[in-house]
Structures are given as C-alpha cells and as structure tokens.
Subunit: 369 residues, 3 copies
C-alpha cells in the first residue's frame, strides 16, 4: 500500500475534472479485484440464528456454518463435514458441538472432530476450519482472512445502533453485482436523477472531499429544484420553506465515506448535529464476487415528540426500500453490462469516484486468480 | 462471393438428388456463420414504441435503444450510456435527446453526449454509436453493419402491406435457434408431415427452382391426399371439389424464396393472380446468434364480399399461429440437437435445401470468431 | 482389471479402520469415472410406453427412442433422425417402423431408413444406431455399450419381482448426482442418523463383509437405541419386545451388495428366510453423468394374513418414499459440494466404502475424457 496521502479538496466540479484520472490501460479491471478478507464482515442477522440451532451462510463462495449453542456465544465453522463435504448447517446442535446430519460426525467450537459414532476415539479424523466470530448490534460477523489478524483489525462502529437517541432500521438485500458497484453508487450523489420519482427534482452540490490511505469521503448539500417534497423526507427533516411559503435549499450536509471495506452516510443539520447515520457492508456471496449481500443499519434521530418516530417508521421504511430498490436495479444493470462486455468500459468524469475506485483497487485482494 | 450463376431447374426429385451435394468435410459449419450485418433488419414493431418514449431492442447481442421524440423520426443509439454502460432505453426522452436514467447524461440524435448535468459544457465526454434507422410498414429497421453502406443497400419490399387490396397480419415470435434453421424450414415444403394435425394430409410437389448469387427460389404445388380440409384453408382458397363433390388437387402455386437475408412465400391462383404474400426476416438476438426474433408480414387478398376478411381473420390468425408454433418447436429441437452434438450432422437429400445452405453460407458474415 | 481378490472380513470397526486406505493423491477422481456401458441398463418403466407409441429416454447424454409397435417387442433406436437430428420419439409408429415427425423419414427395427416420402427407394440414406433391447419385470432395458457383448453379458436378477410370495413396489426418482454417490449412500449403513426422524434412533453393527472382482458386500444388524418404532417398520418386521414389553434388538440381517453395476439390499429374518429384497440401478442421464435416474424394485414378503400386504402397502410406500427423499437430498448435496470444490475431498474412514470406491473405479469406464 502507498503511504498516506491525505488531502482536502473543495473546488468546483470543472476544476476537479481536470485532475480526474481515468483508470489507465494496463490497470487491473476493478471488477476482478476481490474484497480483502482481512476484515470483519457481517454474514447474518442475529435474529436469523435461533438458540440451539445452526444456519448456513457464505463469504465469497466459502460455506460457513453459524452455530448458537444453548450456552455460550455463537461460533463459526467451515460448512462442510470433513467426511463427505455435506453442510454441517443441516445438522444438529448438541452441547458445544454440531453433529453432521449424515453419519453423525460431531465437531466442537475449535472445529476439531470430537466424535464419529461408529469409530473409536483414538481414530478420529481431522476437523474443519473455524472462523473468528463476533456478534454485535444485531449482526453476526466473521473474519474470513488470516485468523491471526482478527484481534488487531479494528471492529467497525455500527451507525448509532447503541445510542438510545436514535432508532435503527436494518436492511439487507441481496444484489447481483460486484461490491465495488455499490460503493460507487452511494458515493456519487449526482445519481439523484435515478430517484426522481421518489425524491422529486434534487440537485446535489459537492462541498468538499477528503481522502487517505484507507478512505474516501465526499460532502454534499442538496437543493430542491422542483416543488414536490416527499412525505418521508419532510417527516425526517421538516419542511423547508421561507416566510412566503416558497421552498428553500436544504441546509443539511450529507457525508458519504468509504472507510475500507465499509461505507457510511451521515447527515448533520445546519447546527452540525447528526440526524441520520447509515452503516453498510457489502459482502461477496459467490466465489467470483459478482453477487453481494448488503447489511445496512440506518439510525434516525428520534424526534422530540415521543412515539412520532414509531408512527413515521413504516413510511420511512417504505421510502428507503423504494430508493434502495432503484439502486439495486441499476447496479445489477451495471454488472450485466460488465458481463456482456467482458470488462469495464466506464468513462468516469467525477474525481471523487475515481479516487474511490483507486481506493477499492488498492485495498482489495491483490491475488490474481 | 462467386460471380452470378443463375440457372433454372425443373426435373424430378430423383434427378435432383443425383446433383445434390452434401456440405463436404472441412466446410465451415453453417450454424457458426453469422448473419451478414450489412442489410436492413427490423428490430421492433412500430406500435411497441410510443411517442416520447424509448425502448431497448437488440441485434446479435448488440443492445440498441430506439427513441421516438415527440417531433421528428425514430432514431437508434447504442443502448449503453458512455458513462457506466447502463441501458439508455431505461432513460427519459427530452426533446431530440435521451437522458440516462442514472446520472442524467443526455445524448442527441447523432449519439453525441450533449449534457452531463454536473459538468461544464466544455468537458463533455464522447457519445455513443448510432445506427441508421428507418420506419416502414409498421416496422422499425436498423442497419447494423457499416453505416456508409446503408443508403446504397436496397430496402426490402414488405409483402403487400401498402396494397389496400390485401389485409396484412403481423407476427413475430422469438425462436431459440440459428436463423439458418428457419430459412431451411420454410424452403423445404416436404415438411408438410409436421403439420398433418393442422392441415390434414398434403403432398407437396416441386415444380421448379431458380437460383442466383443472392437468392434461392422453389415453386411447389400441393395435392390433398386425405379428405379433411381445414376451415381456415377453405376460407382463403375456397373448397376444391369436383362436380361429384370429391376434393380436387389444389392448383395454386406456392413460391418460397430466400433473397438474402429475407424470405418470402407467395401464393398465386390458377390464373396467376397473387392471393397471399408473406415477408419474413429472422433477426439474431444473442451474440452467438442461436436465438432469433422473427418479424413476419402476411398479406392476404381481401375476398370480394366486403368484411368477409375481417370475419375470417381470427380463424386465419389462430390457424397460422398453430402452424408457426409447430415450426418453432421443430427448429428449436434442431438447435438443441446441434448444441448437444456440438456440430451439424445433417444429411440433406433435397437439392433445394443444399442450394439454400450454400447461399446462406456464401452471403453470411465470413468473420471467424 | 486386477485378478480376483476374494476375501472375507468380520472384525471390529476399529481394526478395519487400520486397514482402510484413503484414495491416494494421483488416483483418478471417482466422480469423473463414467459408468461402464457394457451392461444392461433400465431406461424406462414398461407402463410409460403405450402400445403403438414411442417415447424418448436417455443414457449418459445419448438420446434413445423406445418404440412399441402394435405387434412385436419393444425396440430402441438412436433418438435422432439421420436427416435433421430431431428426436424420432416425437414421431409416429407405423407398423414395424417409426416415422420422423418433421419430413416423415421412416426407420425400421434395424435402424435402417426405409422410406423418405419424397425420394425414390434407390436413393435412401443411411439409418440410425440401434441398441439391444429387453423388457423384463416391468422395465425396459438397453445395452448402451458394444452390441456384440449384449448376449454374453448376464442379465440381472430383478429382486423377487417374479415370485408371487412377494409384492413388488417400483420407485424411480431422478437424482442430481453421480451414480457413485448413490452406491456409497446405501452401502454405508452408518448413515441411519440421517433417517432419525423416520426411523427413530437406530445403531447399525457391521457383521461382516465380502468382496470380489466385481462386487462388494456388507452385512449389518440393527439395534434400536430409542423407544419409538415406526408403524411401517413394525408392520414389516413385527414388534420386537421381550416378555416385559421392553423393545429388543432386531435380529434380522441386512445385506447390501454392489455387484457392478447394480445394487441390492436383502433382509433375512433370524431363521435365515428372506423377507425383503431391493434391486436398484442408477442410470446416468447427462453426458457428464452428474445426473442419474434410479430404477428400484422393492419386493416385500406377503404376510400370512391375506390382503394385509395391500392394506399396509400405502403406509410402506409413504415410508420408503420419505426415506428415499432424505437420501436424495443428501447425495445431491454431496454432488453440489463436489461441483463447488471441483474435486473429491472425502475422508473415508469406513473400509467397506473404500472397498466399494475401488470397485466402482475399477469396473467403471476407464476412458479419460
């Protein structure tokens, strides 16, 4: 990795374009760079894994069995019996072990095979791989890379999930695209045109950007250019009107940040107080990493009027779902175009996105497949 | 291309067989020869494209956006935004331009990018490819090959679509096979056995054939060998009975002609007057050209009794649909067999079809993929 | 093939493990070894092929048309017209011939083309391949290998299908896995854990094994370790209780035998009399042999009380179907794991299964694809 090159840029878009660099010929295609496994990745919602049960999940084609014993924390094993490779997650949790559904081989928390019902204890075969595992904020995380690094790699801050002043919504669609498309989608707020039916006419303005060795950040303000403000938006931010009732520019600042490998979106009001915070991870599902599962936590500041947040919650949920559905559809189209072309033909003119692409390439898994 | 070798052959089938040549070993497999793009191909029905809208279509794997502005004719662009490759046909028509649904990049009739909403006009990136485009007879055509040839390549005559003495029916199924199977299917009228449930027992007789540099033609008469004549056929041709009420041989002549790349079927009555005319094009959909979309225009002479044609139209429609469904099923089986075998094992004994195969090979795209 | 190495082993499991050999590195992956075609394989149930009809079936990707003329036995042709390769099984049976549905070419019992309706008899093209064909015990068999061997290769004994003291049930699911997984599944009776919901808790005990050049056999007894005995099992074997009503070990002996390429399961009671007999063949469907169709005949001794077998038959059917459904699901998971891994990672500790694997590898088709 190159040494830290932190810098701050405001400037107009046109100036930025002059500095924007296209990915030059010979550079590796970003969509062929795997996500770096030496980080903590969510692989399931806590509510999906009942007490005394096991479920199967995956990271980049690796099958993973999550096990929640009646006593003790969740643990994560390679979801493949050492015997005949069938998923352990189809098996039975027994004490601190999981027993394969087929011939009953049992594996403990350490992955070691501790019982083959028809074999002497002295003959037990080797066990299966384990993954470091943590449960936080309603999510189950594993560390798919080098286990020796798990303790030293920082665990992410999960939006405002632990802050009672906020109410947090979970969302987690599966998206048929490379994780990099999702980072670029959110980072480039010039795509408000996509959401014109949900949001009305909005013009974004880049206020500034930051970048460093492991992050890219962009700050935006938004101005409404049409007259219609959607209900859900008004409920969160209030109406923006002047004394004559004309709508006014929104004064909130929206900050998008990819701090590898996570992405956040934070909204502060004109006084600098946070009113919304989103944290998201895009977890590769298939071995070719062209399918992802998003895990998102969206924390919204509770309004001063008690219970109002609960009343508006379903509206907010439907609104964000519709927005996300549009985003899902477009990034899947991008992946389909990449598949059809067999490569990345993008012509990016927005410097923030080019910085982000460089970040994702630099921090990703450099292994050539 | 070989120089023109026009000749006329009548003769019996058995004589013809003696002259029939199998495709010799070493010859290129006909199902790997792409359709020649230097012709006008229909890619949509006019009614599919509403005013002020854009739709996506394709030619041989190339995505194409058709745009119908409120004023001016239809135009055709590469259906792929220069920015992030998503389909322009998901976008919005604005004046003489189409605006990408994602970040709002706009492209004019020439394919040039004329606006990026968040970028200065001096910085506009390159645009997208265009296709010569014409709208005739309820069909939208493009010229997928070298645009410089578009003006000089003859535009096809579309059955009797412009002749008020005829009523024209459109049909356009998608067929999962190489376009060449469809040409061979129609040209070989010995396949009436396939339609025995729809047509009753019919025996075709080859009256003669013609061929030239860019066409193959065969003329047939038909004799009914069973007793049942279907209603739809009787409605078009009238009943064929002698004075004692016995059914008589049909005296119409059916001419099938592939004039590359189009195919026609014409029926003239015993006086030599045309009573039916079919024009069809088989347009490759996928890049491997193993899927086609047929566009057919079937013109039927209006009977002397006014409105009778409108009364019989639904019967005729159902009849031709059932016939075509049988043809679709069988040519898809041929493609499936080719796929399973990985090559063409056909043993053709009918000279007309061998001439047709040679024509399709000779006129097709000679590029080796 | 190595010369015959027949031996008999009883011994405990732990001793056996010491002699168990893993498939060593460099050995060919068992799941890439095709089934040996020089045997009789069932390809359809007799009831599927009505008089005067033809149906399509397949062996390892080879399409086969089975034809049952009104008079004379069933015959089997390559299911591909010599003309344009469409399935003959879509055609019409006419006397001792089948006529292709497309242009009406006709093929006799010998595979020879005996008529092209529009061609002189002197010009008839070659015909299609035939397969030796036999109909026995409600099954239609073909010999897909070298036809010269068909008469000398022994025809299998089909359970007790011809014995009126037994009632025989047919079952024949399609299973998306290599045939070898199915042999191993049945041979290894330590997989009773898989059927714990159907069978209750059962512990198998290996009584002994035999093996020879073309077979592997294992004999088991079973002890119930839980209290619940399923109804269907009690109906076949009776309840096993001592004088105080406590359940007793089952004293029947279950013998599983793979005599290449078939597999049998036989149950004898404590007096050595057969009470149940299963015969099964696993027939590769796709060319890569990763899909199979099982044909099973399950013969159950009729109880002394007349008609009792008919009363319990549906219960028995549902019971065996549920058991088989669990087996189908698990062997398909094994195939999925193999596909995902791209190879066999199994660690087998049970000598019987390792002997079986060696048998299947040795007797299989040694051709490298």
């Amino acid at each position: 990795m190159p040494h830290s090159q932190k810098q701050k840029q405001g400037g107009t878009m046109d100036q930025d374009v002059a500095y924007g660099k296209q990915v030059s010929a010979g550079t590796r295609d970003l969509r062929t760079i795997d996500c770096n496994p030496d980080f903590w990745y969510p692989v399931a919602w806590s509510r999906e894994l009942k007490v005394g049960k096991t479920i199967g999940t995956r990271y980049a084609g690796q099958p993973i069995a999550l096990v929640r014993p009646v006593e003790g924390g969740v643990f994560a094993l390679e979801d493949r019996c050492a015997h005949r490779q069938v998923p352990l997650s189809k098996g039975v949790v027994k004490g601190q072990a999981v027993q394969c559904c087929y011939h009953g081989w049992a594996y403990g928390r350490s992955g070691r095979c501790i019982d083959v019902p028809y074999l002497g204890k002295g003959k037990l075969p080797n066990g299966v791989r384990t993954y470091p595992c943590r449960e936080e904020g309603g999510l189950i995380f594993i560390f798919p890379g080098d286990p020796a690094l798990a303790d030293s790699v920082p665990f992410p801050k999960l939006a405002q999930v632990a802050n009672p002043a906020f109410k947090t919504r979970q969302f987690g669609p599966r998206v048929k695209c490379h994780y990099t498309f999702m980072h670029e989608n959110l980072m480039d707020m010039n795509h408000q045109f996509l959401h014109r039916r949900q949001m009305g006419q909005i013009r974004s303005r880049l206020l500034g950007q930051d970048r460093g060795e492991d992050f890219v950040e962009a700050r935006y303000s938004f101005a409404r250019t049409g007259t219609h403000q959607p209900l859900a938006e008004a409920l969160i931010f209030g109406r923006h009107r002047d004394l004559e009732g004309r709508e006014q520019p929104v004064e909130e600042v929206v900050t998008i940040r990819t701090e590898y490998p996570y992405q956040t979106l934070t909204i502060v009001d004109k006084d600098g107080d946070m009113i919304m915070s989103l944290w998201a991870a895009y977890v590769p599902q298939s071995a070719d990493q062209r399918e992802s599962r998003a895990f998102g936590l969206l924390s919204v500041l509770r309004p001063k009027i008690p219970f109002l947040i609960d009343v508006i919650w379903p509206v907010l949920g439907g609104f964000t779902n519709r927005i996300f559905e549009e985003d899902r559809e477009i990034v899947e189209m991008e992946q389909q175009a990449w598949d059809a072309q067999g490569g990345d033909w993008n012509v990016e003119v927005f410097p923030v996105v080019n910085h982000l692409r460089a970040l994702l390439a630099r921090c990703g898994d450099q292994t050539v497949k």
